[in-house]
């Protein structure tokens, strides 16, 4: 369990953060630039002092200002992946990695060879850090942080400095990291698609405050998240299980809630669990079972809530049997259809809107040995 409750004053700006995360898992610290995410992570690492508060990991107290307890960063055993990698320029890649390995604490969580394999660092070992590409630098930085055998891994927007292609190259390594190692992670980002692919738990920050926290699916429905990511990106995140592949269309049949959707996806084996983001703007609400429509995906359910979104738009939450779908419709439509909570309704989702980008492999939660 990671428990964080800290305050810090810096001139006019104030950080007031509180969150907890079960370990292992990945908590994403998400918010706009300047909301205090990096400062919070620096405080957890011990690189920046807090004015008051407490940080504890698995029962070990790392910081307790009231009790004058402040463990030095070099003793906290918290790995840190910086936004700009911060590789040591006077050492080779192998030198950077062994710098961490030589000072690592025990017990060993991950072996040197496992890290090399996981991040494909073999071909890079003899290279000097100056000649590496951005993606390679970040992979080395991640490997180096892992080799200090950390109890917790902090990643401060590790992909922010990379272009889209490099980001796509490194993201799968982070997913593999999450799935294969039991190291808890705090992942800072202002890009929601990274959060979607990696996080199990989400903490929202705004102007120095932690405004909401919870598991990713529940958080996708929260208005606080809508305020940060904007109307166009609003959508519910639901768990999906692949049932099979339709040979005629090539689409995967996927169970969502009590219903079935047909989705385009790559290499999804039957039985595999995925996480799907369904954007609210791609969902149509019907009050009768649909016929003669081009939309093929329909989920039957009950309206649980209607929230006013922008002027003239409403967000309708529909429970489709264990999962909640959000739909954005005009307020005029709400009135003319007479929509109200408790009413039976169908959520219609265009197949083409569910592409590989909104599909992410569900995190496999690994239990600690």
């Amino acid at each position: 369990m990671l428990e964080v409750r800290v305050c810090k004053l810096r001139g006019d700006w104030r950080l007031d953060a509180e969150f907890s995360m079960p370990t292992p898992g990945i908590v994403a610290l998400f918010g706009r630039s300047g909301c205090g995410k990096s400062t919070l992570v620096d405080i957890i690492a011990g690189l920046v002092a807090a004015d008051s508060g407490r940080v504890a990991l698995d029962g070990h107290v790392l910081l307790d200002v009231a009790q004058h307890c402040d463990v030095k960063p070099e003793r906290r055993r918290i790995g840190y992946v910086f936004q700009d990698a911060k590789l040591f320029p006077h050492l080779s890649v192998a030198g950077n990695l062994s710098y961490a390995a030589r000072r690592a604490g025990s017990p060993e969580i991950v072996s040197f060879d496992a890290v090399i394999d996981l991040l494909a660092l073999g071909p890079l070992l003899a290279r000097r850090t100056q000649g590496l590409s951005g993606g390679e630098r970040q992979r080395v930085a991640i490997g180096r942080a892992l080799l200090c055998q950390p109890r917790l891994l902090l990643l401060d927007e590790p992909l922010a400095a990379l272009d889209a292609a490099r980001r796509a190259e490194v993201l799968p390594y982070l997913e593999a990291l999450r799935d294969q190692l039991a190291v808890p992670m705090v992942y800072v980002s202002h890009q929601f698609d990274e959060v979607l692919r990696l996080a199990t738990h989400l903490v929202l920050m705004d102007a120095g405050k932690t405004v909401a926290q919870g598991d990713l699916g529940a958080m996708s429905l929260r208005p606080e998240l809508r305020a940060i990511i904007g109307a166009e990106a609003v959508g519910s995140i639901v768990d999906a299980e692949v049932l099979g592949i339709d040979s005629a269309s090539g689409l995967h049949r996927v169970r969502v809630g009590a219903g079935v959707l047909a989705l385009r996806g790559a290499g999804a084996a039957p039985g595999s669990r995925w996480r799907v983001q369904i954007l609210a703007r791609d969902v149509i609400v019907a009050t009768e079972a649909p016929r003669s429509l081009s939309v093929r995906n329909e989920l039957a359910g009950t309206i649980v809530a209607i929230a006013a979104d922008e002027p003239d738009a409403d967000l309708v939450s529909i429970d489709v049997g264990g999962a909640t779908i959000l739909a954005r419709i005009t307020s005029a439509a709400t009135r003319s259809l007479g929509l109200h909570p408790g009413m039976a309704a169908w959520a219609l989702v265009k197949s083409v809107s569910l592409s590989g980008r909104s599909l992410a492999r569900a995190p496999l939660t690994k239990t600690r040995a």
Binding site: A45, K72, E74, Y80, F82, K86, C148
Partner: protein, 233 residues
Amino acid sequence: MTSAVSLRADEYAALYLSLEVATRAVLLDLPFAIATAWLLTRRRFYGRAALDAIVHLPLVLPPVVVGYVLLLVFGARGPIGGWLDRTFGLQLVFTANGAALATAVMSFPLMVRAIRISLENVDRGLEDAARTLGAGALDRFATITLPLMLPGVLAGAVTAFSAGLGEFGAVITFVSNIPGETRTLPLALYTALQTPNGDAEAARLATLSVVLGIAGLLLAEGLARALRRRLGP
């Protein structure tokens, strides 16, 4: 023609003495210059401005004054000089060691400046990264800060060496002008000018000094560039 180019035995002696004294001065300066540069760059303390000023004094004081102060402190009856003599039988006045000390004091500000600039350019973030990997303060300094400061330290050392070859006022005041013991190149040149028919010798020694000075500066620049390339972002 050859007599204008080749040196006499006592001129060689002055050259070797200069090289030896300058080398010892640099080696003596190094640890103090690194420590002082670190203190001035990384630590806030009461009296920091005063320390900065004292470090720079040899640059602005007349060298003879520096030599005079050295006599007061390190002379046979001075507080430190007397102690060294009683405890170790070590005398600094009239010796090459004394010449090295005088040269070291005069070159000290140059070294501190070069090292400070280099230290200021070390990315503190790299030291933070080393902290998160488990490196304590001394460990970080030895494995991260110092290696990255190296271009500045080496450039400072070579520049101080070149400058030290030319130190005159402080050396002649503190340890006077003893051939083979304290008569470095500049002192030999001065002596040659005071001697009748010493013009040719003076010219040779002057040329030698210029060549050494230029060589030293080129070496310092070349070293700094090579290391910067190796350590660049």
